[in-house]
C-alpha cells in the first residue's frame, strides 16, 4: 500500500508529464490573464488572437490562461516566459497589440519595450 505522500509524488510526476506533453517545454510560454477583471478589460479577444495564431501554425509556443496577478489598471496583461530570460510582462494589451506581439516578439524575438509593465 502506498502512503498518501507516495501517491501524490506519483501524481505530480504524471501531472508534469501531461503538462510537458502539451508543449510546456516550448521555447516560449505565453500567459494571458483570464480572470473576471481581465476579461472585462478585453482579454477574451486577446486570447482569441493568440489561439488563432497557434492554430494556424505558430511554432514552439505554449499558450495558457492564468488568473489575475493583481495589476488592475494595466489589464489585460500577457506574459512571455522564456528559458534563461526574465519574463516579459505586457500591459494594456489589445487585439492589435496581441497581433504585434506575435509578429515581433514570438516570431522574431523582439521585445516591444513600450508596452512592458515596469
Amino acid at each position: 500500500m502506498l502512503t498518501p505522500l507516495e501517491i501524490i509524488k506519483k501524481k505530480r510526476a504524471q501531472a508534469l508529464n501531461r503538462i510537458i506533453s502539451k508543449g510546456y517545454l516550448s521555447a516560449k510560454r505565453v500567459y494571458v490573464g483570464m480572470a473576471t477583471c481581465e476579461i472585462a478589460a478585453g482579454s477574451k479577444e486577446v486570447m482569441e488572437v493568440f489561439q488563432e495564431a497557434v492554430k494556424s501554425g505558430l511554432n514552439d509556443v505554449y499558450l495558457s490562461q492564468k488568473g489575475c496577478a493583481g495589476r488592475c489598471n494595466l489589464e489585460p496583461t500577457v506574459e512571455v516566459v522564456e528559458q534563461d530570460k526574465i519574463p516579459v510582462k505586457y500591459g494594456l494589451v489589445t487585439k492589435e497589440k496581441a497581433k504585434e506581439i506575435i509578429e515581433r516578439h514570438l516570431k522574431k524575438g523582439e521585445v516591444i519595450k513600450e508596452w512592458i509593465i515596469k
Partner: protein, 603 residues
C-alpha cells in the same frame, strides 16, 4: 528594455540591520566592474520570508536564492553567477517553499517585488482550470502530508501554533476555532468556506478563487480531516459566475484524482465539497446568517452563543473560515507553522491581501506581511496619488471600516493597530481618497450601503442607521445644525453597542471615524454651509462673472429658467433661489464665465 538579470535584495525589517544599503552598493560596484550595470536590475523587496538567513537575495532568471553571505562574498557571486553562469552553491538556499513563487515571473516589477505572497502565491502564474499546474507546484502535497504523517490533533496544533487569524475581518484565531470544533462530539460536522465577498471595492476573494481554486479545496479537506467532518460547503455569491465555474471544475477534477470523495489518497478519510450560491445579500457574509441561508431560510443573524463550533449548520458543529484564510492552510502545513509565525507582528502573523483602489496610481491586489505601514502600501507599492493631488485619507475595511487621515500613514498594519486608529482590518478593501473627495459624502456613501443591506431584524441597526443617514443627508444638503454632529456620534456609539451582528456593530464606523479625523469638514458643512471638495451639490453655487459676453447659451440649457438677462450681448446672471445646481450652464459656457463657488450662497 527588460534587463538580462534581476537581483532582488530583501529589505525587510530583520534584514535591514544586516546592511542592505552596503550590499546594494557593493553589488553595483561589481556590476560596473564587469560591464553588467546596464543589463542588471536591482530592486529592494519587502520581507522575503527567510529572516534567519539574511541577507537574502534572489537572482533571476532562474530564481536562485542566496542567503547568509557577507559583503566580501559579493564579487565572487556576481562574477561566478552572472558572468560565468556558475551559481555559487555554498550560499544557495535550496528550498522549494510555496510562498513567493510569483517572484519567478513578477519579482523585477516594483509593484510586485515589494509584496509577499502566501495566499495569492499561485495567482497569475498558473492556469486555474488545469489541475496539473497546481499539482506540479506541490499542490495537494499538504493534504498528503497530513494524511500520512499527522494526526488530526497535530494538524489543529500546527494551525494554532502558526498564529493565523481569520482573514474575513474579525481576526479570530483560526487554530482556536479549529480546536473548538474538533473538540465537539457529533456524528456530523461541517466545514464552510465563506466566499460571500460583498464590500464595495473589494475583490480579493474573487481573484483568489479565480486564480487558484484548488488551494481553497485543499485547505478545506485538511480542515475536514483535522476536525472530523465529512462535508464541506462553499458559500459563494452568484454574482461571481467565473469564480463559481472554476471552483466547480476544481471540485470535479479533485474528485476524479481522489483528492475528494471516499478514502482520499487511499487513506481512511472521506470528504466532499458542494457549492451553495448566495443571492448577494451583504448580511449573508455574517456567519450565522450565512448558515441560515444555506439551510434555505432568509439570511438573518442570530445571537451567539451558541457559536457555530458548537451549533452551526443544521445545528451541527461547524467550522467556517474565509477564502483567504483557507488559502493560507497548505502553506502553513508545508512551510511550517514556525516559518509562518516568523512573518508579521507580535499578534498578527503572516500576510494580508488588500484590494488597493481609489485615487492611487497602481490599483491592484497587494499582499504584504502584517506590520507593513499604510505609507509603504500607498506610496512604495501603490505609487502614490495621481495628477499631483494631495492625499487626504485611506479607507480600510469597507463599509465596516473607517477613514484614517495622514497622521496614521505610519501605522503598522495589524488587527490591533488598525482598530486602535479607529478603523478595522476588515476583509481587505483599501480605498485611497484625495483632496477632491468630501469626507462627509464618503461617510454617507458607506452608510447608505449598510443601511440598504441592514436585514431589519434588530432595531438599533434598522432604525439607527436610517436616522444617521437622514442626518448625514441633511448635512450634505446644507440643512444641518451643529448639534447634528454630536447626535451622529451618540447614535453611532449606541448602534455599535446594541446591534446584534457585525453589520450593525460596525456600520457607524465610517461616520464615527470621519468625525474623529475630519471634524473640521463636518463643521464647515453645518456652520459655513460649504463643502471644500466641491462634491456636495447643494452646497455649491453658480455665479456668472464679467467674462460673460451675453451669448445666451446658458439660458438655453438651463432647465429651471434661472438665468436672467437684459437681452443678447449683455451680462447674464443666475437667480440663486431658482437654480437647481445642475451645472449645465457651467458645462456649456465657452468663455469660462460661470464660476462655481464652494458655498451655498454665492460669495
Amino acid at each position: 528594455m527588460p534587463k538580462r538579470f534581476n537581483i532582488t535584495l530583501c529589505d525587510g525589517p530583520t534584514c535591514l540591520h544586516k546592511k542592505s544599503k552596503e550590499i546594494v552598493s557593493a553589488i553595483e560596484q561589481e556590476l560596473k566592474k564587469h560591464g553588467l550595470a546596464e543589463k542588471t536590475g536591482i530592486n529592494l523587496s519587502g520581507c522575503l520570508g527567510m529572516c534567519g538567513k539574511g541577507p537574502v537575495m534572489i537572482i533571476n532568471p532562474g530564481y536562485v536564492i542566496y542567503g547568509s553571505f557577507a559583503e566580501k562574498d559579493i564579487p565572487e557571486i556576481i562574477e561566478q553567477h552572472l558572468l560565468r553562469k556558475k551559481p555559487v552553491t555554498r550560499f544557495i538556499i535550496d528550498e522549494d517553499h510555496l510562498y513567493n513563487r510569483f517572484f519567478r515571473v513578477f519579482g523585477d516589477v516594483n509593484f510586485f517585488g515589494k509584496q509577499m505572497r502566501i495566499a495569492l502565491r499561485n495567482c497569475g502564474i498558473i492556469d486555474p482550470e488545469n489541475m496539473d499546474d497546481y499539482i506540479s507546484l506541490r499542490g495537494y502535497e499538504a493534504l498528503a502530508k497530513v494524511l500520512t504523517d499527522m494526526s488530526p490533533e497535530e494538524v489543529v496544533a500546527e494551525v494554532k501554533k502558526s498564529g493565523l487569524r481569520g482573514r474575513g475581518g474579525a481576526g479570530f484565531p483560526t487554530g482556536i476555532k479549529w480546536e473548538l470544533t474538533a473538540k465537539e462530539k457529533s456524528d456530523e460536522k461541517y466545514v464552510i468556506c465563506n466566499a460571500d465577498e460583498g464590500d464595495p471595492g473589494a475583490f480579493m476573494d474573487r481573484s483568489a478563487i479565480e486564480g487558484d481554486p484548488h488551494t481553497i479545496v485543499e485547505g478545506m479537506v485538511i480542515a475536514g480531516y483535522a476536525i472530523g467532518a465529512k462535508k464541506g460547503i462553499v458559500y459563494i455569491r452568484a454574482e461571481y459566475p467565473l469564480a463559481v465555474k472554476r471552483l466547480e471544475k476544481a471540485i470535479e477534477d479533485a474528485r476524479k484524482e481522489g483528492f475528494l470523495g471516499v478514502n482520499i489518497l487511499g487513506a481512511q478519510f472521506s470528504f466532499d465539497i458542494e457549492i451553495r450560491l448566495g443571492a448577494g445579500a451583504f448580511v449573508c457574509g455574517e456567519e450565522t446568517a450565512l448558515m441560515l441561508s444555506i439551510e434555505g431560510h432568509r439570511g438573518m443573524p442570530r445571537p451567539r452563543p451558541p457559536f457555530p463550533s458548537v451549533s452551526g449548520l443544521f445545528g451541527k458543529p461547524t467550522l467556517i473560515n474565509n477564502v483567504e484564510t483557507w488559502a493560507n492552510i497548505p502553506v502553513i502545513i508545508l512551510d511550517g507553522a514556525n516559518w509562518f509565525k516568523s512573518i508579521g507582528t507580535e499578534k498578527s502573523k503572516g500576510t494580508k491581501v488588500f484590494a488597493l483602489a481609489g485615487k492611487i496610481k497602481n490599483t491592484g491586489l497587494v499582499e504584504v506581511p502584517m506590520g507593513t505601514t499604510l505609507r509603504q502600501i500607498i506610496y512604495n507599492i501603490g505609487g502614490g496619488i495621481p495628477d499631483g493631488k494631495k492625499f487626504k485619507a485611506v479607507q480600510t475595511g469597507g463599509p465596516s471600516g473607517g477613514c484614517l487621515s495622514e497622521e496614521y500613514l505610519d501605522t503598522k498594519i495589524d488587527y490591533e493597530s488598525l482598530a486602535q486608529a479607529g478603523s478595522i482590518m476588515g476583509s481587505g478593501g483599501m480605498i485611497v481618497i484625495d483632496e477632491d473627495s468630501c469626507m462627509v459624502n464618503i461617510a454617507k456613501f458607506f452608510l447608505e450601503f449598510t443601511q440598504n443591506e441592514s436585514c431589519g431584524k434588530c432595531t438599533p441597526c434598522r432604525e439607527g442607521t436610517k436616522r444617521m443617514l437622514e442626518i448625514l443627508t441633511r448635512i450634505t444638503e446644507g440643512k444641518g445644525v451643529e448639534a447634528d454632529i454630536d447626535k451622529l456620534q451618540r447614535l453611532g456609539n449606541m448602534i455599535k453597542k446594541a446591534s446584534l451582528c457585525g453589520l450593525g456593530q460596525s456600520a457607524p464606523n465610517p461616520v464615527l471615524s470621519t468625525i474623529k479625523n475630519f471634524r473640521a469638514e463636518y463643521v464647515e458643512h453645518v456652520r459655513g454651509k460649504s463643502c471644500r471638495a466641491g462634491v456636495c451639490q447643494q452646497l455649491l453655487s453658480y455665479v456668472i462673472t464679467d467674462k460673460c459676453v451675453g451669448c445666451g447659451a446658458c439660458k438655453k440649457v438651463c432647465p429651471a429658467s434661472a438665468i436672467i438677462s437684459g437681452g443678447a450681448k449683455t451680462r447674464h446672471a443666475i437667480e440663486t433661489n431658482k437654480c437647481v445646481k445642475c451645472g449645465a450652464c457651467f458645462k456649456i459656457c465657452k468663455f469660462n464665465a460661470v464660476k462655481i463657488s464652494r458655498t451655498k450662497e454665492p460669495r
